[in-house]
């Protein structure tokens, strides 16, 4: 059996990269004393996967990991033991036991919701008022970084929703193994639409990960 757990990556540790978060979770699992499963082979490691790597510099409110257990484990016990074993900066919020046949998280991922907090309130106001303007355009060109170059692409079909209130811009953006709109791409395009010359300073918080339910609507990935 497996446990799907929702955890938070706090603002304080937002500069910790994904690999280090993975290792910290593994050590947390080892401290918890929970019966986790290990891979076979020369260097056995804990069988753990993450629905999506969170960028360095971003906070996460509802990140999801998938842990394979060696013995049946109650989700509440998992949650309680893990929270005793983790620093407050990596707090677990929910856990759910699933069958081994439960589809892999990564394959079901469709979108992520974000809260982008703009530090400068004047800039935030300009960005907010530029949202309808930008969304009315037939296409929204943005620069996508590939391994080797910058590529122009249209992010309009990747923006599922976008709104602004005060210093916060909230967005639901496509996130699959094939295509994704990163918050940076969105903010750059929006800053352009708002006529801002300088790059905007903002704090990224990924607030949720989403898949598709049987009706074809976006739904929290951890509940699917």
């Amino acid at each position: 059996m497996r446990i799907l757990a929702v955890f938070e990556k706090s603002e304080r540790i937002r500069h910790i990269g994904h690999l280090d978060i993975q290792r910290s979770m593994q050590r947390g699992l080892r401290r918890s004393g929970l019966p986790v499963a290990y891979s076979n082979g020369f260097n056995p490691h804990i069988l753990i996967t993450f629905a999506s790597a969170l960028s360095t510099g971003a906070c996460g409110q509802r990140e999801i990991m998938d842990v394979t257990m060696a013995e049946p484990t109650d989700a509440e016990v998992f949650l309680a033991k893990m929270n005793r074993a983790m620093p407050p900066e990596l707090h677990l919020k929910e856990a759910r036991a699933v069958d081994d046949r439960h589809p892999a998280l990564m394959g079901s991922l469709r979108a992520a919701s974000y809260d982008l907090m703009v530090y400068d309130s004047q800039e935030a106001a300009l960005l907010n008022s530029a949202i309808p303007l930008m969304m009315d355009q037939p296409s929204i060109p943005a620069m996508r970084k590939t391994k080797t170059a910058l590529k122009e692409c249209d992010i309009k079909p990747l923006i599922y929703s976008l709104s602004g209130e005060g210093q916060h811009i909230r967005a639901m953006l496509a996130l699959t193994e094939k295509e994704a709109c990163k918050p940076g791409m969105l903010m750059e395009a929006l800053a352009g639409a708002a006529g801002l010359k300088e790059p905007v300073r903002f704090l990224t918080t990924r607030t949720g990960l989403f898949g598709e339910n049987t009706e074809g609507n976006l739904a929290p990935l951890e509940l699917l």
Binding site: D20, R27, R30, P87
Partner: protein
């Protein structure tokens, strides 16, 4: 923007921000206002180095364990961070609660390496604390320091208010109590320092005067304040089983240099290698019991989740019950998937059986430290190891499935000739031959023999404390020679530039006047001198010149028997007479036996009941 917001802002721009953000597992979550005493533990190097240091973890746990004291960490920021902090006019902040340094009551530096001294000045400066003790006022923290380099405190005498000499576990709490008293009773700085000077093992340099002759040689070191001791005797914890050891240690998010549990199995060493300062300073040898170590390792594994335990000491192979310890640790850790490693493996001590057990979980490269290439040279330095010992252990390792071996040597040792250097190459060649002697089907693929040579630095409290270091041109000539003779297939040769070793020799045996050089070098921009990319040798030489001091006086001058050495008022337990006797024996390549085989009369026998191997008759 407030201080914290500005700090967050620069974190977005800095390389390796996790160095500065804290929040790691098992880091203190004590409330600032709940504790009357605030201790800032300063590691004068980067986070990655500092978080690999065992002493930090011991004292961090020890201070935070007391309900009245709180300990938070400070590390040396990297150059990019320093520049950004300056730009934003931000002071150095503690890793935990982000309090500026000057709000702490005690600032404590650990002195592991002389090349970190300018970092101490930089950290004090960024922390808003006057660099020199004489300029500090009633509202400034007391600045203290300890660690192996505190045994020659003189180069830092101007900057550190009080030094802790020897084992820190007991004296740390005593010192904190005095500083708490200062705070609560409003003791003046001077009164507080006087109380500190009366603690055993504490040295307050401002209470002592040093006189020199015209050539710069010391003619006297005397107390200038009534009631302070003539000599400062180091602190020794006698029973490690009764001494504090942390059961929880911080677990960094990012990888640090030693990212594992370090289990100190014993302290001290009985070998008496003549170049080794730690071997003299940490005497006598004291072991933790097997039961205690098993208990500690289980607790540490449970509280950290680490995958590896390394048995740590100066000479782990000498631990009395080493095979039993390894076997028992293996048995208990196998299901937890924790591997056991022995870092300072001595070639004449670890049993073949233990080697085989280590490999059962994980195979790493094996390290041997013959230190010198010929038997004569090894006898000079009293490294009681023979070539056949080494080759036998290497053969066992190759047969046990290892293919990677590291060999550590020194160049520039007293009495060294080119023949001794050639001996290093001979030994490396013989190690390669041992590998090929193991049948192809039984040996692991990919032979890698790494030979590392470091330049010898004479250190205080060793029999070589009087010795002249080789000059830089001579070291370069010797290194070039080694490069030539070590051009052997399967062998990699590593060496270091001699400039750092030269400077290390100046500072490690420096007197108080070196403090001026440190300050000048710092003012001229020297920091992070332990890092190749930031080390500026020419600037250091400029600083010496500006202070009217000749570095060769410190590094390349042989001292006489009767010369007063800058650290003569510090009693390390070892007598000067013993060290001189050892120096004379070294010149004749005569060895001294391991203390476990009988007392050699190093001086510790003067202190009743401190050394288990002491013979009172050998005074």
């Amino acid at each position: 923007m407030n201080e914290n917001e500005r700090f967050e802002k620069i974190l977005e721009k800095v390389q390796k921000a996790p160095r500065y953000t804290g929040g790691e597992m098992n880091t203190a979550v004590k409330e600032w206002d709940d504790c009357p005493l605030h201790f800032g533990f300063c590691f004068p190097d980067t986070y990655e180095v500092g978080m690999s240091h065992l002493g930090l973890k011991i004292l961090y746990g020890l201070i935070n364990r007391e309900e009245w004291s709180l300990c938070e960490r400070f590390f040396m920021p990297w150059t990019d961070m320093i520049a950004l902090m300056k730009e934003e006019n931000l002071p150095l902040l503690s890793t935990e609660s982000r309090h500026p340094m000057h709000e702490f009551d005690v600032i404590g530096f650990t002195l592991q390496y002389e090349m970190s001294y300018t970092n101490i000045l930089a950290m004090l400066d960024m922390g808003g604390i006057p660099l020199e003790g004489k300029d500090r006022g009633e509202s400034d923290p007391i600045v203290v320091a300890g660690g192996p380099c505190a045994f020659n405190p003189e180069p830092l005498a101007d900057f550190i208010d009080a030094f802790m000499i020897g084992d820190g576990e007991d004296v740390m709490t005593e010192l904190n109590r005095v500083i708490l008293e200062r705070k609560q009773k409003g003791l003046s700085r001077k009164e507080c320092l006087r109380k500190l000077a009366n603690l055993e093992g504490v040295y307050v340099p401002s209470f002592y005067d040093v006189e020199y002759d015209a050539s710069g040689i010391i003619t006297g070191i005397h107390p200038n304040t009534p009631g302070v001791p003539e000599t400062i005797r180091k602190r020794v914890v006698t029973d490690l089983n009764q001494t504090y050891y942390p059961e929880e240690i911080p677990v960094p998010y990012t990888e640090v240099v030693f990212d594992r549990i370090m289990l100190e199995i014993m302290r001290g060493c009985t070998r008496g290698c003549r170049f080794c300062q730690a071997g003299m300073l940490y005497r006598p040898v004291r072991e933790r019991s097997l039961e205690k170590l098993i208990d500690l390792s289980e607790k540490l594994v449970a509280s950290t989740g680490y995958e590896e335990i390394s048995l740590s000491s100066l000479s782990s192979g000498d631990y009395t019950c080493l095979p039993e310890l390894i076997r028992e640790l293996m048995r208990r850790m196998k299901d937890k998937r924790v591997s056991i490693s022995l870092p300072s493996l001595r070639i004449d001590s670890v049993l073949k059986e233990s080697l085989e057990e280590t490999q059962q979980v994980k195979k790493t490269s094996l390290t041997f430290a013959p230190e010198a290439g010929t038997q004569r040279m090894r006898d000079v330095i009293n490294k009681g190891v023979t070539e056949s010992d080494l080759l036998e252990k290497v053969r066992d390792a190759f047969e046990g499935g290892w293919s990677s071996v590291k060999l550590y040597f020194m160049d520039g040792l007293p009495t060294e000739t080119d023949e001794d250097l050639d001996g290093i190459a001979d030994l490396a060649r013989k190690v390669v031959e041992e590998y090929f002697r193991v049948p192809r089907e039984r040996r692991a693929k990919g032979l890698r023999v790494t030979v590392s040579a470091s330049t010898f630095v004479p250190k205080p409290f060793t029999p070589f404390q009087w010795a002249a270091q080789d000059t830089i041109p001579e070291i370069i000539r010797k290194q070039d020679h080694l490069k030539k003779v070590l051009n052997i297939k399967g062998v990699n040769f590593n060496w270091h530039e001699p400039y750092v070793s030269f400077l290390e020799a100046c500072v490690s045996r420096g007197d108080r006047r070196i403090g001026r050089v440190l300050l000048t070098a710092y003012r001229l921009g020297c920091i992070l001198d332990g890092w190749t990319e930031t080390f500026r040798f020419d600037t250091w030489m400029e600083a010496f010149k500006a202070c009217g001091l000749d570095p060769a006086f410190y590094a390349n001058r042989e001292r006489g028997r009767d010369e007063i050495l800058p650290w003569d008022h510090i009693d390390s337990g070892i007598t000067k007479q013993f060290l001189w006797h050892e120096k004379e024996k070294s010149e004749q390549a005569v060895t001294t036996k391991d203390c476990r085989k009988g007392c050699n009369g190093c001086g510790l026998q003067r202190w009743k009941g401190v050394c288990g191997y002491a013979n009172p008759r050998s005074v």
